[in-house]
Subunit: 143 residues, 2 copies
Amino acid sequence: MKLDEMSTFALEPVGFIRSTVKGRADAPRQGAEGAPDAWLEIEPRFADSLLGMEVGYELIVITWLHEANRDVLQNHPRGDESRPLTGVFYTRSPARPNPLGLHPVTVREIDRARIKIGPIEAFDGTPVVDIKSASTRADVTAD
Amino acid sequence: MKLDEMSTFALEPVGFIRSTVKGRADAPRQGAEGAPDAWLEIEPRFADSLLGMEVGYELIVITWLHEANRDVLQNHPRGDESRPLTGVFYTRSPARPNPLGLHPVTVREIDRARIKIGPIEAFDGTPVVDIKSASTRADVTAD
């Protein structure tokens, strides 16, 4: 398949975060430290993708940070203006052209198509677009 | 913003991988071991997002695995049918509803809006949709 620079790709939510973190005021300021656990509710049509999931597994959850500003290319790390302006491709700022969030988490509990994961710093209602094993060795398949 | 389950999100490529790995026959079978370095060509309108990038930095590159099968919810790890069928949310298989790839890499060289990164197991022409610092501590900003 040939792709040109005008292509776009459509992501669909595979689930949603249900968290006590309702907005910025509730969010810990630095990474996931002090962040709570949250439920990840998988959309029914993707529930079969959980086969084999177990409590204690380590995952990377990829979210779509739907409230982020997609027009920002540079900002001051941690919003601290004394720090030099930095391109968003060398930050973890939510503001970026495609506002994807990466969250390393542990599975705490499994209840059919809901999994409790944490710690995770993500607002209630945040769409989840992918979930992977955190290990690059365990389960790689060729297709 | 209220999102419902019918929402989709549009990703646009921020760059493309230019690699000697042209297809499956060239690809190392297990993770990034033995994978080559590759150039990541940033789209001109996103070049300002590289400000501050330096050789030696560790990044997470997120690709769109445009050749992956999006209808697969379960498969056999490493394509080995003696292994139990596993949901794609606990594998690193490219096959998954939203075929995002995660690649931890080191910056080897910077040439204006091209950065040489590696090692990376990604086919030539693979679209890149996001780039982040590998550190969750260094540069987090609030917006």
